[in-house]
Point group: C2
Chain length 467, copies 2
Amino acid sequence: MNKVVKSIKEAITLCGLKDGMRISFHHHLRNGDHVINMVMEEIANMGYKDLTVNASSVFDIHAPLVNHIKNNVVTGLEVNYMGAAVGREISSGIMQKPVDFRSHGGRPSDIENGNTPIDIAFIAAPSSDNMGNCSGKYGKSACGSLGYAFVDAMNAKKVVVITDNLMEYPLFDFSISETYVDYVVCVDKIGDPTGIVSGTTKITRDPVGLMMASYATKVIQSSGLLKDGFSFQTGAGGASLAVAKYLKDIMLKENIKGSFGMGGITSYLVDMLEAGCFEALMDVQCFDLRAVQSIRDNPRHKEVTASHYASPTAKSAIVDNLDVVILGATQIDTDFNVNVHTDSNGFIMGGSGGHSDTAAGAKLTMIVAPLTRARLSIVVDKVLCVSTPGNTVDVLVTQRGIAVNPKRIDLKENLLASGLPVVDIHELKRIAEEITGVPKEVKLGSKTVANVIYRDGTVIDTIKNTL
Amino acid sequence: MNKVVKSIKEAITLCGLKDGMRISFHHHLRNGDHVINMVMEEIANMGYKDLTVNASSVFDIHAPLVNHIKNNVVTGLEVNYMGAAVGREISSGIMQKPVDFRSHGGRPSDIENGNTPIDIAFIAAPSSDNMGNCSGKYGKSACGSLGYAFVDAMNAKKVVVITDNLMEYPLFDFSISETYVDYVVCVDKIGDPTGIVSGTTKITRDPVGLMMASYATKVIQSSGLLKDGFSFQTGAGGASLAVAKYLKDIMLKENIKGSFGMGGITSYLVDMLEAGCFEALMDVQCFDLRAVQSIRDNPRHKEVTASHYASPTAKSAIVDNLDVVILGATQIDTDFNVNVHTDSNGFIMGGSGGHSDTAAGAKLTMIVAPLTRARLSIVVDKVLCVSTPGNTVDVLVTQRGIAVNPKRIDLKENLLASGLPVVDIHELKRIAEEITGVPKEVKLGSKTVANVIYRDGTVIDTIKNTL
């Protein structure tokens, strides 16, 4: 028995693709991924139309999608994140149907619950055996965790593993097991390693970033959460990484034994694990080479599925037990609603990812962002898009002061007691506008180009076309 | 958030148990399991009736089930294996409805496909955190793999984890994740370690057993399968273990690098792994302490689910790639049909387990059994119960000769060329009956006390009541 077929084309044919079907992809190969483009080019050449692409994220490398959209090969798009290259085109209104944005927790929930049934899942796998036991930990295109891809494999009617490293059966350290896989295709190259993971993620050297990191660290200290059992998620931004570094120093000095680090994992979280700051890392996605190496070699660095990470309809998810998350924003309004979907001009250039999931789960949700960016205030009266509702956001840290959500009176008192520069969020907006001037109102069109589906399934906002 | 409730009773109430529901259990605690008895006693005390118990296996320790059956608390029973204590009672006809026997692969298949939907699964877990991330690898009741329990957790409407070792969140080396778990109950003791795993499994010293093992090993050598990539499953019987030992010596001497060992894992397979005879062990169940230690500490010793092990409706299972399996029999008939459900008098005292699954998958399915047992021939004209159909059995090894299924002309030629004592299976029967005399016909009643459901879902045989 052997599931290896000769080509992507053969796999597509054997899976019985039909016009109108929903096909899925995961994004662990990030901006190095060749698989979406290879599969979609084949599908376009074969003459299929009217497909819905459900991808956990699309990056700038996936710009060829734009042509498939214009040619009606793709008429539906469902993602958790979208880079600017495709985003600007979507914003300009090239699709008839709005894009559906979900979160990293909402996507697996909707697949599992049958709201977005997948006909064919294409799994980019850095290693696989001939029966489809596959892993992201080995091979020239290693990406580490395959966390987002489990739900696709476990629920799609047909599953195709696409690999560039065929290993002997059984690939015993499999992530996704053969029980879910119909076909395996071996290609020369599933991606470009330099785009899949960065060599190393780097701390900011920018003094503004370092100041924000310093404030953020003090907020965590003052919150009362930095004690034994502490759990933490941060992203790969330079200031967030600096927080991880500062926290590590404090935890070691004060002998604080945290429980887990989570999320997209970087070398800084690996450092914290190895230094004993955490019992474990729960990893849905690796951001750099050191994280890939660690998830392969360190049994305390554990791959978790997207459902385990953040699904709102799982019986519980790790986000439900998260103490502190550090998140970014392109805009935050005076009700603490956060936009991570569009830039200040309304162009799509992002998405929730795990933003709204972790914000909902964490005991302390902190937005860390510079007060102004590209000569615009990040604090606004009303965000152009509500990605994460303000009632799940506790505090905004900028280089010019820290604004606490009024519902967190306790936190505000703690920060004041610690001597931190707590200011009202309206005051932050005023300070920003002193520098940037009052921004002109952004005029958008009347066509809905995207729905933002919150993790509970409701449409929390819509995104209109740019003019 | 915390899923720990005070008692099994509270969990049952919270799960909304109702008369007529189907509840499930797994059998990794084997003859040391206290969980089925604790839960069923509580359920009986609470006054529930007419439940169906779906358990991967029941052992002699579960004899209290007999009273629950007699009291109509349990009116349906679905198992893959049943020890004699309960089996004799079932054979005597105490249930109105027949027991449904499945195989280790058929059970998860039927649960996944909705044929036997589980209302509440009770997972005996040697360790768990307060959210239900649980494992069999740690704790005083450690049993190693929880392979059979995944399907229960992943598909039951409600899932209760019962543990005697509550660990800090997150139990990062979880087998079953919190995403599936509703409640966690911590009790003093989920089982008796001496019944859960044997201290060590022991090779036979009986000369008859050693002769059978020697023949079996030579059959494997002669089959042409003992080469690089070799894969192997054997049970925990004394002669089977001797085969493992002999194979290890040959593989080391001839520098043969096998791919995987599978099945219920014993110290002898661990020895083979550690000696480099296999790349990996794929473990659905641990039989002894050394196996438990190995699955905890050796990354090449991998836990697999029952579906991955053997499901006939998974997109593939490991049995599909198995070279050689050694299996037992209480009876085998001249068409090579094998009985492992009843003894020679028709009393239920076993079940398929993985017998028919591995027989269907393996390239070489070998039955190893003494020619006579308790003064009865094991070779008969017609087995009292067809557990495994003869067309999936290749060869019978006894101390008095080796019978090859006529459909395996190639194998017969190879064994003859190796000088092995190949004899017709009718001749083996004749030799046995020379010793034992012609057995009296076993008279059974007309009531069906059990259906044997083959892995493809068909009823391959029924078991009648004893008189």
